[in-house]
């Protein structure tokens, strides 16, 4: 006897919401990617709870694939951030404010 499933769902929802706020409001590409990780983790949490609620392993299998997708996404995302940093010299998603060095000065 742990807790009702709705409490697990509420916890996952709150964590997802915090990840979403982080993704939408922070002005730093690394923090945006961290917010995405928090959201994926919240999804995995809800799926594991659902797996226990319905006594089926489907939820745990989906959580496993969420972890795989998170690992793939973070490697490509961080490579893109390094690429952007080499081009613009900053990790601000608002590239127009930090002068891009490769922009032709016409």
């Amino acid at each position: 006897m742990i807790v009702p499933y709705s409490h697990v769902l509420a916890l996952a929802g709150i964590v997802f919401l915090m990840g979403m706020v982080c993704t939408v409001t922070r002005r730093n590409l690394i923090m945006i990617l961290l917010g995405l990780e928090i959201m994926l983790n919240a999804g995995a949490l809800a799926l594991v709870g659902a797996s226990l609620r319905w006594m089926s392993m489907d939820g745990q299998a989906m959580a496993l694939f969420i972890i795989v997708v998170a690992a793939a996404e973070v490697s490509v995302g961080l490579a893109l951030i390094v690429c952007v940093y080499r081009r613009t010299g900053s990790v601000d998603p608002n590239f127009t404010e930090t002068a891009a060095p490769e922009k032709p000065s016409v």
């Binding site: 807790v3 709705s6 964590v15 915090m18 939408v24 961290l34 990780e37 390094v82």
Partner: protein, 171 residues
Amino acid sequence: MTIYSAIFYLLAALIIATTALAITRRNLVHAVVYLVISFFGSALLFFLLGAPFLAALEVIIYAGAIMVLFLFIVMMLRIEESKRRIFPLSQWIPAAVLCVIYLGMLAVILSGIEGDMRLETAVAVPAAFSMWIFRHGWLAVEIASLILLVALIGALHIGRRPAAADKKEAQ
């Protein structure tokens, strides 16, 4: 209140507190370390919810590999301290609208489902879980390995220095 529900609420409070601390830190290293603690809490919660294999994977992949990758990138890049507000006002409007919609939907969902039916404790032992996933989801496992391979090649290609920079360094 059983011991399991006490552990659940304790872990939930820990996860929410450390995640909130992580997303409000200005220093990226502090944010990543707080998030490691949050993922450890998630791993314990997976263990409580009967998924020991996923708990181990959460510690190894999320708290270990992914967060260490973030730490490497934070150390690699020289990130200038921004003097602006940590949450810019212009970004708050979409965030607040999304939060209100989302919290409303969450309240509707939570008020609708099964009142006081509590989760029973059960464990999916790793061997049974692995047998199940290879029997029922072998195609998904293959696709997952393909995704990891594509991500590896993609990250290598994107992260490669441009050929001109290599030549300049060689001279």
